[in-house]
Amino acid sequence: MTCDQVQQLLDDFVDGILPEMDRSRLETHLAGCDSCRRSLAELQTLLDNTAIELITPTGCACSSTTISRWMC
């Protein structure tokens, strides 16, 4: 498996939907490839940060602007 192929499969890998056979091959590649491991780490960091930081729905500006406009 080449680095390009790994890069294409990393999304499915972190999402846990990569078929078992591909997953084994990908893990073998990762074990010997610093560059792809770095990509994986970056991707996981991004997704973890997204989950942690963006779990809170943002307050609707309707509360401060739209509704006050209705009321004026």
């Binding site: 846990g16 996981q44 997204t50 930081e53 943002t58 307050g59 609707c60 006050s68």
Partner: protein, 298 residues
């Protein structure tokens, strides 16, 4: 063994639980949208569109025209006959809206632990079910309360999909107008929250298609790409950086990223909603993640 991201935890965080039927995905706090300065062009266009048509000729508008509130969810509602001015005095509605507004933040700020207990969740679900039933029968106060309970969630998805606070406001209102109109088609096969969420996504997608058609028709040369919208001074906070980076993504890539990684939809669902293939959805997600990784590592 390389650790794989724990999908179940993430999904719980980002709303999969909500999609799975829990009516009360916790809303932790109220935060001001940081994108308030972004593109007012769509809104300007919208207002322009509305001006072209006399307010009285729009469905539901006539009822409040003497009160000077043409742009309100209630005044947009159709059919007009369901709103009986004598039965529901206008001042009551305004007071209710004002009261709801002033109390809203308190309503949604949770305990320091940030969680609802099971009793509160069940109570909320029961309350929503009751309100839905009453609203289906034309009970306006019930609809108002439903609106108040769900507006943050609807706005959050609209904002993330559009990366435009003003447009998200408009689409939030449009969504609730659709809720009112289509409530009698809600059969209760799925949770109301799931139905509402899907309605919000569809409202955003419809607007996006309409905007695309307008753009093509008018052959606009002005650049209003999402990437330009995010041209603001850098901030330290990670969340802000993330939000900015997401807002700066190309539109389709952003939508897939938001739907998949924040809202928890599967590629098959996204493909159906966006009228595309799962392969395209995956490709857009890959593109979005790659751009975010590069953008955030700078």
């Amino acid at each position: 063994m390389i650790p794989v991201r724990k999908r179940s935890q993430i999904e719980l965080f980002i709303g999969k639980a909500y999609n799975a039927g829990l009516e009360t995905f916790p809303q932790r706090s109220i935060r001001p949208p940081f994108l308030s300065a972004t593109g007012g062009q769509e809104r300007a266009y919208r207002h322009e569109q509305e001006r072209e048509q006399p307010l009285e000729s729009l469905p539901g508008r006539g009822i409040f025209q003497n009160h000077g509130h043409p742009f309100t969810i209630l005044s947009l509602l159709a059919p007009v006959t369901m709103i009986d001015k004598t039965r529901i005095p206008i001042q009551t509605i305004w007071s209710s809206l004002a009261s709801n507004h002033s109390n809203r933040a308190q309503d949604h700020v949770l305990s320091p632990q940030g969680d609802l207990n099971n009793g509160e969740i069940a109570g909320h679900a029961d309350r929503v079910a009751e309100l839905v039933q009453r609203a289906r029968e034309g009970d306006l106060p019930a609809f108002e309360e439903l609106y108040r309970l769900e507006i943050d969630r609807v706005y959050a998805i609209c904002l993330r999909l559009t990366a435009n606070a003003e447009l998200a406001e408009v689409l939030t209102q449009d969504t609730f107008v659709q809720v009112w109109k289509k409530l009698n088609t809600f059969r209760g096969d799925s949770a109301f929250g799931t139905w509402l969420h899907r309605l919000a996504v569809n409202t955003v997608l419809q607007e996006q298609r309409a905007r695309k058609r307008r753009r093509e028709k008018e052959e606009l040369s002005g650049d209003t790409s999402p990437a330009d919208r995010a041209d603001r001074p850098p901030r330290e906070d990670l969340r802000i950086d993330l939000e900015r980076a997401i807002a700066a993504l190309p539109e389709r890539a952003r939508m897939v990223f938001v739907l998949h990684d924040i809202e928890g939809y599967r590629h098959e669902e996204i493909a159906k909603m966006m009228n595309t293939s799962t392969g395209t959805s995956k490709a857009q997600l890959h593109r979005a993640r790659e751009l975010l990784r590069k953008g955030l590592s700078r």
